[in-house]
């Protein structure tokens, strides 16, 4: 067995079009009441626009993840955008040289809030095998990271698992989080704003 976590939750095909699960709330005839957080979380998590930042071998694995067999589009992340202005999720896949660090940061700065970051692979998470003078030892030195996917390279299943964890985070995120003191302190610790 490969040490990746699989999605073991069975989800039988209910219809030709699969629907997102309904959030908790009260319903009666002709109405449904729930919190705004829930509705917005539901919309956001099922329509993430990823921005792939693929620099090396892990990027190849992401290409497989995008292609038909694994198909990241099944998770509402069909629209891979190549403009940071329009994207919600920065996916950094591959070795980031120290010289590339400011570029990653610049791309992150160009994304509009709310934005999430996923570090795919050992290199993006920690520098990986490149314990050397020229490689950034993990992108969390320049931008805050939400989910780390281990592996060298991670299998497409693992990348999908990482995406689903991002979806969980996005779905449960409070609308006030981005205005909170902690979040501001986090960004400040990276010298942003």
């Amino acid at each position: 067995m490969r040490p990746v976590s699989y999605n073991i939750k069975k989800k039988p095909l209910e219809a030709d079009i699969s629907m997102a699960e309904m959030p908790e709330g009260h319903q009666g005839q002709g109405f449904f009441a729930t919190t705004l957080d829930n509705v917005i979380g539901l919309a956001r998590k099922n329509s993430l626009w990823p921005l792939p930042f693929a620099t090396s071998c892990c990027g190849i694995e992401f290409m497989a993840t995008m292609a038909a067999t694994y198909d990241i589009a099944r998770f509402g992340s069909e629209r891979v955008g190549f403009s940071p202005r329009q994207c919600d999720l920065l996916m950094v896949m591959g070795t980031i040289a120290k010289k590339m660090g400011p570029v990653v940061k610049q791309v992150y700065l160009q994304m509009a809030e709310p934005r999430w970051v996923i570090a795919v692979g050992a290199c993006a998470s920690s520098g990986g095998i490149f314990d050397t003078y020229s490689v950034l030892q993990g992108i969390d030195q320049v931008v805050p990271v939400d989910v780390y996917v281990p592996g060298c390279p991670p299998r497409p299943e693992a990348i999908l698992d990482g995406l689903m964890r991002i979806q969980d985070l996005v779905g449960k995120e409070s609308l006030r989080r981005r205005n909170s003191e902690q979040y501001k302190a986090l960004l400040e610790s990276y010298g942003i704003q």
């Binding site: 120290k98 010289k99 920690s126 314990d131 003078y133 020229s134 030892q137 993990g138």
Partner: protein, 167 residues
């Protein structure tokens, strides 16, 4: 008639006498050295001499020999005579405390980036280079990474998270 290594050697000795030393042949390729002050004279001779005509600078690089005291850093020129298809190597050695070597950019425009790279990794100060600054590494770097001066695991590094690596 093809240019042989003996002919090249003869020409060089005829011109520079015992100032060119260390002739050796590895895999059929001639290699020799001289004092670093002579590098431009020797290179110029190799380029201009009617029979030699080493007009192409294939590569220029550095090597660090930490045990070779006073002569730690070698600068190696790989030259190519395109007409005869003959290659040679020419080395000069310099002290790593004061690694000043004259720039070859006047002779070969291609030496510009190669010398910047050699400076970047070995800290060779090419005297007279038009734009001697780092080319591959980050500008803030304050050491020369290819010198054999550092322990394999650099204890002074703070960019590595020790907890994650069990140190």
């Amino acid at each position: 008639m093809a240019l042989s290594n003996e002919q090249i050697k003869e020409k060089l000795v005829e011109k520079f006498g015992d100032q060119v030393i260390g002739f050796e042949e590895q895999y059929g390729m001639l290699s020799f050295q001289s004092a670093k002050e002579l590098n431009l004279k020797v290179l110029n001779f190799l380029v201009e001499e009617a029979t030699l005509q080493f007009r192409f600078l294939t590569d220029l690089c550095g090597v660090h020999y930490p045990d070779n005291k006073g002569q730690e850093i070698a600068v190696v020129y790989h030259l190519h005579n395109m007409r005869e298809n003959v290659r040679i190597r020419y080395k000069v050695f310099t002290d790593s405390a004061q690694p000043d070597v004259y720039t070859a950019t006047g002779l070969f425009a291609g030496a510009n980036w190669m010398e910047r790279e050699t400076y970047d990794f070995y800290g060779v100060n090419f005297v007279g280079h038009p734009n001697l600054k780092r080319i591959l590494n980050v500008e803030e770097m304050d050491y020369f990474p290819m010198r054999k001066e550092y322990p394999l695991e650099d204890q002074s590094r703070i960019d590595k998270d020790d907890e994650m690596f069990g140190r």
